[in-house]
């Protein structure tokens, strides 16, 4: 098991390194860093001065290794746009996004898994059709619109939840539901088809012939097998929430990493964007690794 994890971890590091180089390269090609620092209306001479001063005239590989060395020592650079160390920016904004992402995945789990099981137990019944209908409509509704409608209903017409902000956990309830709703359909469908497939399996027939039926059959024999694919997808969904909550954060005015990313890109803030891309990618990889470990725990064949 330890071997398995350490092996996967090496792969994660390798992928993350490659990714950081590609983003560094692309960003420095797409945007002239000297121009970005000097400002849009700067004169050519001014830009040239900045280029000399910041060392942007040196080869890109050397600058990458310098940046990388600094990151390893904990110095993430200084944001051109915010004029603050990128590290402290991250620390400020990360908790909001982490809270939002985790809460929205909890919403997904609590809605999608029970619905999926219900649908699978009564395939092609009214319940099944209704579950699928709910799922499809959730998927079809755009996030920002659902967010606005929820605000109008639950904050304006019936003032139960605050309109926006991120001061207490209470503030996060509406945005989590909005963000979580979008992952309900894929997870629910996977749960449904997974369980349906498992119920056809030979070992379920064996369990039936041994006298298992109803709830015991599902809990003792089918559930764990059906959950295997769901775990992987949930990890991917959680990764998406970390990097992809820009719209929800904007609608509910939550100062998280999503909005930071949006603002930094608009401000051509290379150091911040660079770090953010790396953080998002790394989180994604780590989450996938965790999902693999969890799957290996659930399924002995993978160990």
């Amino acid at each position: 098991m330890l071997k398995f994890i350490s092996g996967r971890f090496v792969v994660v590091i390798a992928v993350a390194l490659t990714l950081s180089f590609i983003t560094f390269f692309l960003l420095n090609v797409a945007i002239d860093p000297a121009q970005a620092v000097a400002g849009e209306e700067a004169e050519a001479l001014e830009i040239e001065q900045v280029r000399q001063q910041y060392g942007f005239d040196r080869p890109i590989l050397i600058r990458y290794f310098e940046w990388f060395k600094a990151v390893l020592t904990g110095d993430l650079g200084i944001s051109y746009y915010w004029n603050k160390p990128v590290g402290s920016l991250l620390l400020e904004r990360a908790p909001e996004t982490i809270t939002l992402a985790l809460m929205s995945v909890l919403v997904t789990i609590f809605i999608a898994i029970p619905l999926g099981i219900c649908a699978a137990i009564n395939p092609n019944s009214v319940i099944d059709r209704m579950c699928l209908g709910v799922a499809v409509s959730f998927q079809a509704i755009p996030n920002f619109w659902l967010g606005l409608v929820m605000i109008i209903i639950f904050s304006v017409t019936f003032p139960i939840f605050p309109v926006s902000g991120d001061k207490t956990y209470f503030h996060f309830i509406l945005p989590s539901i909005v963000l979580g709703a979008s992952s309900v359909p894929p997870v629910m469908r996977l749960m449904r088809t997974g369980l349906l497939d498992v119920m056809e399996a030979d070992y379920i027939r064996t369990a039936r012939s041994n006298g298992f039926f109803g709830r015991k059959l599902i809990l003792n024999h089918a559930m764990r097998n059906a959950l295997l694919p769901v775990v992987s997808v949930l990890a991917v969904q959680l990764g998406h929430k970390f990097g992809g909550s820009v719209i929800t954060e904007s609608v509910f005015s939550i100062n998280g990493l999503g909005r930071l990313a949006l603002e930094s890109i608009l401000g051509a803030d290379i150091p911040t964007v660079q770090i953010l891309v790396f953080v998002f990618a790394f989180t994604f990889l780590i989450l996938n690794l965790l999902a693999d470990i969890l799957n290996a725990y659930l399924d002995p064949r993978l160990r």
């Binding site: 071997k3 398995f4 350490s6 092996g7 996967r8 090496v10 792969v11 399996a201 030979d202 070992y203 027939r205 064996t206 369990a207 039936r208 012939s209 041994n210 006298g211 298992f212 039926f213 109803g214 015991k216 003792n220 024999h221 764990r224 097998n225 659930l298 399924d299 002995p300 064949r301």
Partner: protein, 540 residues
């Protein structure tokens, strides 16, 4: 302990758009304690369905539409499904199935699965007691290293061991009746023999009666006192096993037996000699890399170790071995689908890797085991058969069409099949199409990898006859790969017995089978259940 089971006029139907279509009718059976009943029939005969109806495990589209099942004067058909599973499944009637590889839950340990199966009918029993019970069952099915087995997962066991665990699972609540549905079909012959002996012994020890389902009369004859023969959803003959094997009343049963007798008699036309070496296999070795794990040494699996043999023109050579012995790897190498790590193969004295691909395709053609997956479902039969000619790019479309029709005739299929699709054909017809496809290039060598293993006995018989006729007509060289010695005996002149990638014995088929030298060949032979034709026999 006294009970009786009687099934009267059972009728099973499949629900389709129009209504119900009967697939089993007038099924009658009575079973008394300690009796052993065999049900024999080909696939689709309804033998499994009628038993699934008894154990309430029918697939959702299929229903019992008539008749009654009485167990001690209680009509099981009127019982709620839930009640049946609570009162009967595993407790009075247990069932084991064909596929031991997939019939155990992959995510739980053997110990846990046994314990749970015990607890389902014995609520509130302590963990210690249930574990004790699980251990004693593993002991009863003669598994070794029980403590270790309790903690192992199904994928860590072999097929035979898994079938033993499944038997333990089925018997843990001491049922009165055990239904075994082709429990040994997926296993190697030597393992099959052990499992059958175990089932026989457990029936005595547990005072169970047995219903044994199989397509194989040889297997059935070893485990049953009485036999029911089924065909197309009906019982066509029943009686004592001994009687039926000696003098069957129905033509169908006689036909089944004749197929087996014929294999037993062998094939005298095989023994004519021509000594022109056609293929020489010299010292080939092949290792496979096992999936890589980080930080551990790469593991290798040696599939073929230093195998040499030669095949003469017009010869028929059989390669026999159990699964994992490397026989299929050898076939793949000769076919050019795999490359040996070392050693070489000469065809007509030139090395195989020097021969151009088109040229090689005209020399060697394969026939594979599973006719269901070897034909592309999106192409017509005509296209499937003519494809090898189309690829060669030197024939006009008229020539190709004429050739394909000729091939259909050769494998005894009607011309109209040219425009059909594979899913409209039966297994035997599909295998004929694969043979036609292999023969259209007029190859000199056919490599048949288990050509009849996926087919019913009567169909197997027809395909073997076809291959035999083609061999004579086209004077083609054949390498046949099989786990089944009787098939080999019928079709091959010489035999290579292979184990763990090495040839353990070789020679003329007749001599090897009559007087085996190596202990492995002896073991293989003793594991085959043969049915001998009676002295005054029905053939000719």
């Amino acid at each position: 302990m006294s009970y009786s089971l009687s099934i009267n006029n059972l009728e099973i139907s499949v629900k389709n758009l129009i209504g119900y279509k009967k697939i089993v009718s007038d099924f009658n059976l009575t079973l008394h304690p300690g009796r052993k009943l065999g049900i024999v029939g080909e696939s689709g005969s309804g033998k499994t369905l009628s038993m699934l109806a008894l154990t309430r495990l029918l697939p959702s589209q299929i229903e019992v539409t008539g008749g009654s099942i009485f167990f001690n004067n209680k009509n099981l058909n009127n019982m709620e499904k839930k009640e049946f599973h609570r009162e009967f499944s595993g407790k009075k009637i247990s069932m084991i199935f064909q596929e031991p590889m997939t019939a155990l839950n992959p995510v739980y340990t053997i110990g846990k699965q046994l314990r749970q199966a015990f607890l389902i009918h014995n609520k509130g029993i302590s963990k210690k007691l249930s574990e004790e019970r699980a251990r004693s069952m593993l002991d009863a099915v003669k598994l070794n290293r029980i403590e270790e087995r309790m903690r192992q997962y199904p994928h860590q066991l072999s097929g035979g061991q898994r079938q033993r665990v499944l038997i333990a699972l089925a018997l843990i609540n001491e049922p009165e009746i055990l239904i075994a549905d082709e429990p040994t079909t997926a296993l190697d012959v030597t393992v099959q023999k052990e499992i059958l002996e175990l089932i026989n012994e457990l029936c005595l020890n547990f005072k169970m009666s047995l219903i044994f389902i199989s397509h194989d009369l040889g297997v059935i004859s070893k485990v049953s006192d009485e036999i029911i023969v089924m065909k197309d959803g009906k019982i066509i003959e029943e009686g004592l096993t001994k009687k039926i094997l000696k003098s069957p009343k129905k033509d169908y049963t006689l036909g089944l037996l004749k197929c087996l007798w014929k294999l037993e008699k062998g094939n005298p036309s095989l023994y004519t000699d021509k000594k022109v070496p056609f293929i020489e296999v010299k010292n080939i070795k092949k290792e496979y890399q096992l999936p890589n794990r980080p930080f551990s040494k790469r593991k290798k699996l040696s599939a073929v170790e230093d195998v040499s043999f030669s095949v003469f023109k017009g010869d028929s050579v059989a390669i026999v071995g159990e699964s994992g012995s490397g026989k299929t790897t050898i076939a793949k190498i000769i076919n050019g689908l795999e490359y040996p790590d070392s050693g070489e193969i000469l065809i007509n004295n030139s090395p195989i890797n020097k021969i151009d691909l088109f040229e090689r395709a005209r020399l060697i053609q394969p026939i594979f085991q599973d006719p269901y997956s070897t034909l592309n479902p999106n192409h017509t039969i005509g296209y499937v058969i003519s494809r090898p000619l189309i690829i060669q790019k030197r024939f006009s479309s008229k020539e190709i069409y004429q050739n394909a029709i000729k091939m259909l005739k050769l494998v005894e299929l009607p011309d109209t099949f040219f425009y059909r699709f594979p899913n409209q054909l039966s297994g035997g017809q599909r295998q004929r199409v694969s043979i036609a496809r292999a023969l259209i290039l007029e190859p000199q060598l056919l490599i048949c990898d288990e050509p009849t293993s996926a087919l019913d006995v009567t169909i197997q018989d027809q395909i073997l006859d076809l291959l035999e006729n083609l061999k004579k007509k086209l004077s083609i060289t054949i390498i046949i790969i099989s786990h089944d010695i009787s098939v080999v005996k019928y079709l091959s002149k010489r035999i290579l017995v292979i184990k763990d990638g090495k040839i353990v014995e070789s020679g003329f088929t007749k001599e090897v089978l009559e007087n085996p030298q190596s202990s492995y060949t002896k073991e293989l032979l003793s594991s085959v259940f043969r049915i001998f034709p009676p002295k005054r026999n029905f053939i000719n």
